[in-house]
């Protein structure tokens, strides 16, 4: 495995080091200065996540108000580096209980150092699973071995956990009520031309699970995806049901999924970790059901007036509804006065992002809603630069709807003791970058 990092730095937005850890001594000490002068103070900060300066590669990303910078001098695996950062942030979040920002770092110096020591050795990523790490990097006080009180809980064998076959699950868990929660979360990315042609469209989906199951259960998940259904019909030697099947691209699984079984039987079977985890991720590019259609007309009437007309149509089932719909309609910088008429929701001009922001709290399916606005522009001194017309952006959440059409066919739980489980399934579709040119 290639090296992922020689050193890792956590910087605030001003470029001051909050915390850093050097894993290999092939990078010098003034790396932060180089980053500050060559990256932070240039315009490339936002759009170029990897830069090489003087033989060192800087791989960085911004998370809330912290820059995480990985410095590598050898030929490193950059994807591995980014993955490491993402996983590390998730780990920190699970330790801090939510937020990861400058203040959280300042409040948890010792813990972070401890974690940084553990999650990477000599530049090679190690176990980043919070489940395991929480076993031996604890936030509670350590009891003195000479204390008179007897131990009320056996100390789990950490070594076994790290090296064991089912490293992600502790043994001996028991719950009174055995429950499984399954969420399918999809986000739709869309770029549509002003004439309504789809230029780019895909869905990225995640299957999230939350397990409260006793013992060492074996789970099996069936989806209406194409490969799984075909395999199944082949094995049961009967024709596939004539339902809609979904072709999933780029599927990735959590490490708990038994890949040999997946390869031979095309079924997703696994022993789940305890608590919340991401079972699988996938992408779909074909046959996407767009939840909304947007029909914009924007007319520039002379130098100082504009007319904006946006019609939004919901095309999902009439019984469903979308929540938190926000339509951001860009307007020129010199917008001075706006006049709205909306059929539903509320609209407002937000000068700091140069957009008309139209918010609709609840948007039922198979309906449509329009906004018409008159905009007055102020005359400027500079020569008239023609307006670039950025795309309209949209945000929404549609519960119980999947843009891909994916459905859970079954979720079977099998355990030695044979207890009953309750399974909960939820679907939700969100907007990724949902953009319509105007």
């Amino acid at each position: 495995m290639p090296v992922a990092a020689s050193a890792i730095y956590f910087l605030n937005l001003r470029g001051d080091v909050l915390i850093n850890r050097t894993y290999r001594d092939d990078v010098g000490g003034n790396m932060v200065d180089a980053f500050r002068t060559h990256i932070m103070q240039t315009k490339e900060l936002g759009n170029c996540p990897v830069r090489q300066i003087g033989g060192c590669s800087f791989v960085y990303m911004r998370i809330s108000n912290v820059y995480i910078v990985i410095v590598v001098s050898s030929n490193a695996n950059v994807a591995c580096g980014f993955k490491f950062v993402v996983e590390a942030v998730a780990l920190f979040k699970s330790y801090f209980g939510g937020a990861f920002d400058e203040d959280a770092i300042r409040n948890n110096f010792v813990l972070i150092y401890e974690l940084l020591d553990e999650i990477m050795d000599f530049g090679y990523p190690q176990n980043l699973s919070p489940e395991i790490l929480k076993l031996y990097i604890t936030q509670e006080g350590v009891r003195s071995p000479f204390s008179s009180k007897p131990k009320d809980k056996p100390v789990p064998n950490a070594t076994l956990q790290v090296t064991g076959a089912v490293g992600w699950r502790r043994e001996g868990l028991s719950y009174k009520k055995n429950e499984v929660f399954l969420d399918i979360v999809e986000s739709v990315n869309l770029l549509m031309s002003s004439k309504g042609n789809v230029l780019r469209c895909d869905v990225t989906g995640k299957v999230l699970m939350k397990c409260f199951l006793s013992g060492m259960p074996d789970l099996k998940l069936g989806l209406n995806d194409k490969i799984g259904l075909e395999k199944e019909s082949e094995m049961k030697s009967r024709p596939a049901k004539s339902g809609k099947t979904i072709e999933l691209d780029d599927v990735t699984f959590h490490q708990c999924v038994n890949l040999t079984r997946f390869n031979s039987e095309k079924t997703v079977s696994f022993v789940p970790p305890d608590g919340e985890f991401e079972l699988m991720k996938y992408r779909i590019t074909e046959g996407v059901n767009l939840p909304f259609r947007v029909l914009p007309t924007i007319k520039e009437l002379g130098r100082t007036r504009m007319e904006v007309n946006v019609k939004v149509k919901s095309v999902f089932g009439a019984k469903m509804f979308a929540l938190g719909v926000v339509v951001k309609i860009p307007v020129p910088k010199q917008t001075a006065k706006t006049n709205f008429q909306v059929t539903t929701g509320r609209a407002k001009y937000n000068p700091s992002i140069d957009c008309l922001v139209w918010k609709i709290r609840k948007f039922p399916g198979q309906t449509e809603s329009t906004l018409s606005a008159e905009i007055e522009l102020i005359s400027t001194m500079g020569e008239k630069k023609s307006w670039t017309r950025p795309p309209i952006q949209m945000e929404f959440q549609v519960p119980m709807f999947t843009a891909s059409g994916l459905r859970v066919r079954f979720l079977k739980v099998w355990e030695k003791s044979g207890y009953n489980t309750v399974e909960w399934v939820r679907y939700i579709t969100k907007a990724g970058s949902y953009e319509i040119r105007c």
Binding site: A336, N350, P351, I378, T380
Partner: protein
């Protein structure tokens, strides 16, 4: 500002922002707010307007682009209340500049404030105008501001501002102040008692006087009076005294103003001024306090320049120098720098050298100062103060310093040392010593010019030759010597090594051995010199030494196949020559003496001289240096000389005239100028000796008719009759329209050739003015009358052209827009007492800015179709065309760079052509043309021209038409100059001339 809560909240919001992004969001939000408010005129109260305009200013100061709301800011100027008016003025002067049209709207309001009674408003208005007032302001406000300045009812505060405001207006538009009316007023103003007003008025005066000193001569005594008052410290209020010096600013300004007047006639004024200056010179000293030093020295140095300007008595000058001498011995580097610099300036003006020489040792110490700028000044000063008496010391000092000086200074240092050695050498052997030392110590920084010069001196002075040879021999004994040293010693030993033959270790073979040791380590340019030296050594070896001969032949053999052409040719030629016996001796005879030339070093130094510091004195002292190069006798390079006779042919690519020059050798040796190509760069100005002796002979001796001797100015028409023009000017012009070099004008005395290079919309022409006679041409004057569409820059031509010399004068041409108009060169000279002048059209015609381009049919037709009709595409049936066969017509078109694209038009009787036109306004633009001929009637054709620019299309069409029409001379009445081109002296029959461009060219040759 009280009560503007919104503003203070906004500012504190901005200050509380954690990062730039948050600040930007806040600013954008506020800008949105302001836009909404400005648009809602109903609710926009003056208070709100004021508040928002302040916010805009704050945002602008934070660096954000505020491109609206200027109208509101300008409108606040007319508000009646002070707080609003103030913000209006402030924001307007921050956000707008003089080029904004908006400001015109404000002129009237500003004027009302200026002529109003409220002096606060007056001050605001004057400040605005003083900061951003442009031409419009100058035109409409100057009289009012003048009135304010001289008004007795105004407070000094207002008048101060008025003076500075008027200064700005004057700078923007010098016509704003009428000198006749204003001079007296200005003089009255200088009687002012208030020092503030006086300071401002003097600033104004400095500017006025620099423009026109005659009109303000009445102010001169007043300035002296002011100086007297300040020097005596009479009536100077405490607040105008700075560290005990009465208003140093006013003193400096008054003295600066005085420097713009040529002299002071009035003896009493002069006397009192000198008293004042004396007092300043006496009273200034170096003290501890830096601020006081700065102020007093500013006054002192201004006084020094005034003293220099006025050519004061020697006594005062020596006093100045003494003072400066004190300065250069001070430890403080700034003061030392100023002292050295001013000493250098003093050198330029007067004969204070002897006094400055007293400080020589101190200056030499400054040469070792840690501060490089001080060292440079010291070097300049040493260079300037050097003369025969102290040259030896100074040059030796410089040589000594050379080995320790840092690299950035070495080149200048070595050049200066070389020049001084040459200029002031007490004896030539010393000069040779110095230069050889120089090469030894700083070989890398010794340019070729320096050693060329040594060679010239040695060649021209027989006494020097043995000495130089023995010196060169001595240097060769050193183990590591610089390549330049190898070059110079090889050359000298080759020429004069035989003079040392009797000395031990200096026989030909020994010299060869020691030189040959150096050969492996030298670079390619040096090897040819060594080869020549070997040949010379071989030739001089008396008695002939067969062993040496063998060795040298081996070397020649070795280089016979060298990759470098120069080396190879020399090796081959010398090898062959050396077998020829007598011819060998002949060819390799001793170099003839060089003609006397101006030192190229001095020329070079003149170029190096920095002209940054432009004091009033320096401006006066500076002469206009002529850029034109005076070239050697312009013998035509007709054919290559026989290769064996002149082995330097191979060098002819470097310098053609050097070959030509070698032909008329004064001492009549066949052509032994072996190294003339090497020394070519030195040949800046050469006039053969025999000619220069005749130069002073009677002018009439040449048999020049002196018919027009009496009349100085003769109309052009007559002129051309009296001086017989050789060839036809118009014809020559037309030929030059089609080619890039040739003769523009010729008469018995002068020949003007022209050579042009064209690149895009720019061109560079070189005029070659060649004096054909043996006596100089004087009062040579050239003047360009450019048409509107060309920008021309002619380098000055020297006043005199020496006999048989050629002067080059570069002329830069820039094409701004398409036009057929032609530039005219108004040219005149005196030959003896006869004035000759001619007006010549310069062949910078439309077609010179064309660039041939060959288009294929796929490229041509879409372009052709996209140009739809007039004015982009013009068609005309042209009649009276001189009959031309199609191929001839195609040649004609190609000759003016409109390329015929064969095969594009299906009809064989038609021609299709294309070209690219370059000008500043159009950029590169494709032009297309189509000519449809009638095979039955060759005198008419249909011409269609198209391009992306209507003017270009029209002009090009007309141009082509002119080229095609039969009577080219008569129809060309398009010279823009008031007098048309000189009439044709020997008109050729137009038909013969027009037949084909080839004939035109042939006629010239």
């Amino acid at each position: 500002m009280t009560g503007m809560r919104g503003l203070s909240v906004f500012i504190s919001d901005i200050r509380n922002c954690q990062n730039k992004e948050a600040e930007r969001l806040r600013v954008d939000k506020e800008l949105g707010n302001i836009r909404t408010c400005f648009k809602n005129e109903k609710v926009l109260t003056p208070y709100k307007k004021k508040k928002y305009v302040w916010k805009m200013l704050y945002i602008h100061m934070l660096g954000y682009d505020v491109d609206f709301g200027h109208m509101e800011a300008v409108s606040l100027i007319s508000a009646p209340k002070y707080p609003e008016k103030q913000v209006g003025y402030i924001v307007t002067s921050c956000l707008l500049n003089e080029n904004h049209d908006f400001l015109r709207l404000a002129i009237n309001t500003v004027r009302n404030d200026i002529i109003g009674r409220n002096e606060t408003f007056q001050c605001l208005a004057l400040t605005l105008v003083g900061n951003i007032g442009g031409r419009d302001f100058a035109e409409s406000l100057a009289p009012d501001v003048q009135k304010l300045l001289i008004s007795s009812s105004c407070r000094p505060l207002v008048r101060k501002k008025a003076a500075l405001c008027l200064l700005r207006l004057f700078r923007k538009n010098p016509d704003a102040i009428n000198a006749d009316g204003w001079a007296d007023r200005m003089a009255q103003l200088l009687d002012e008692r208030d020092l503030g007003v006086l300071t401002s008025s003097t600033s104004l005066l400095v500017s006025l006087v620099s423009n026109n000193h005659e009109a303000y001569s009445s102010c001169l005594p007043k300035c002296v009076k002011i100086l007297e008052r300040l020097a005596r410290n009479q009536d100077v209020p405490q607040e105008y005294t700075y560290y005990g010096i009465p208003s140093p600013w006013l003193q400096v300004k008054a003295m600066r103003a005085l420097q713009y007047f040529p002299t002071i006639e009035d003896p009493s004024t002069r006397k009192s001024l000198f008293e004042v200056l004396q007092r300043i010179l006496m009273g200034t000293d170096v003290v501890k306090n830096v601020n006081k030093n700065n102020a007093s020295h500013a006054v002192l140095f201004e006084a020094l320049s005034l003293v220099m300007h006025l050519d004061a008595e020697k006594e005062m000058m020596s006093q100045c120098v003494a003072l400066l001498g004190k300065f250069i011995s001070v430890r403080e580097p700034n003061i030392r720098y100023l002292g050295l610099e001013n000493m250098t300036r003093m050198l330029m003006v007067t004969d204070v050298q002897d006094i400055i020489k007293k400080h020589q040792s101190q200056i030499i110490t400054s040469l070792k100062d840690p501060d490089i700028s001080i060292r440079r000044r010291a070097l300049d000063l040493l260079y300037g103060m050097c003369d025969v008496s102290n040259a030896k010391d100074i040059v030796e000092e410089l040589l000594q310093y050379l080995s320790t000086a840092e690299f950035s200074m070495r080149e200048e240092l070595s050049l200066k040392a070389a020049i001084l050695a040459e200029k002031f050498a007490p004896d030539l052997s010393w000069y040779v010593d110095v230069i050889l030392q120089l090469i030894d110590k700083a070989g890398d920084f010794v340019s070729d010019d320096i050693w060329f010069r040594v060679v010239q001196f040695v060649t021209n002075n027989e006494d020097l030759q043995p000495y130089a040879a023995s010196k060169a021999r001595e240097y060769l004994d050193k183990t590591a010597i610089h390549e330049t040293m190898v070059k110079v010693s090889a050359y000298i030993l080759g020429e004069y090594g035989h003079l040392l033959a009797r000395q031990p270790g200096c026989s030909a073979s020994e010299l060869f051995n020691i030189l040959h040791e150096k050969l492996p380590r030298v670079s390619t340019p040096t090897i040819p010199i060594l080869l020549s030296t070997y040949a010379k050594l071989l030739m001089h070896a008396q008695p002939p030494d067969p062993e040496l001969e063998k060795k040298i032949w081996a070397v020649f053999k070795k280089y016979e196949s060298c990759i470098d052409v120069e080396i190879q040719q020399r090796a081959v030629e010398y090898f062959e020559l050396s077998k020829k016996g007598a011819a060998f001796m002949d060819v390799l005879a001793e170099m003839p003496k060089f003609p006397e030339r101006q030192s190229s070093l001095i020329k070079k130094a003149e170029e190096v001289e920095d002209t940054a510091d432009q004091s009033a004195i320096k401006l006066r002292a500076q002469q206009q240096p002529s850029n034109a190069l005076v070239l050697a006798d312009p013998q035509p390079v007709s054919g290559a000389p026989p290769p064996l006779k002149v082995p330097s042919v191979s060098g002819s690519t470097q310098n053609p005239e050097s070959v030509a020059r070698s032909l008329p050798q004064p001492n009549g040796t066949p052509s032994p100028d072996l190294l003339s190509d090497l020394l070519g760069p030195l040949a800046i100005e050469a006039s053969p000796g025999d000619v220069s002796t005749e130069q002073h002979g009677p002018i009439g001796a040449e048999g020049v008719p002196e018919e027009v001797g009496g009349s100085a100015i003769v109309p052009v028409e007559e002129q051309t009759n009296t001086v017989e023009v050789i060839g036809n000017i118009a014809e020559r012009f037309h030929a030059l329209c089609l080619k890039d070099s040739g003769v523009l004008y010729e008469d018995p005395y002068i020949q003007i050739g022209i050579k042009a290079e064209w690149r895009g919309h720019q061109g560079r022409l070189v005029l070659f003015l060649g004096n054909k006679n043996t006596s100089p041409l004087t009062s040579v004057q050239t003047l360009i009358l450019p048409p509107a569409h060309l920008r021309l820059e002619l380098s000055p031509v020297p006043d005199t052209i020496p006999p048989r010399a050629q002067v080059q004068s570069p002329l830069e041409v820039m094409n701004i827009r398409p036009s057929r108009d032609v530039a005219v060169l108004d040219f005149s000279y005196m030959f003896g007492t006869k004035l000759v002048s001619a007006k010549l059209r310069i062949p910078a015609t439309l077609n010179k800015f064309l660039q041939p381009i060959q288009l294929t049919s796929e490229e041509f037709f879409p372009q052709w179709r996209s140009l739809s009709g007039p004015p982009l595409k013009l068609q005309e049936v042209v009649r009276g065309v001189r009959p031309l066969a199609l191929p001839e017509m195609a040649t004609l078109f190609n000759s003016f760079r409109v390329t015929i694209c064969p095969g594009l038009d299906p009809n064989p009787n038609n021609l299709v052509a294309s070209s690219t036109f370059y000008s500043e306004s159009t950029g590169a633009m494709i032009c297309l043309a189509r000519i449809e001929t009638d095979p039955a009637d060759r005198t008419q054709l249909r011409l269609t021209v198209g391009s992306g620019d209507p003017t270009l299309t029209f002009e090009l069409k007309e141009f082509i038409k002119e080229q095609l029409i039969t009577i080219p001379m008569g129809s060309r009445a398009l010279v823009p100059a008031p007098t048309p081109a000189p009439p044709v002296a020997q008109p050729l029959s137009p038909a013969a001339l027009a037949d084909d461009p080839g004939a035109l060219l042939a006629g010239l040759l």
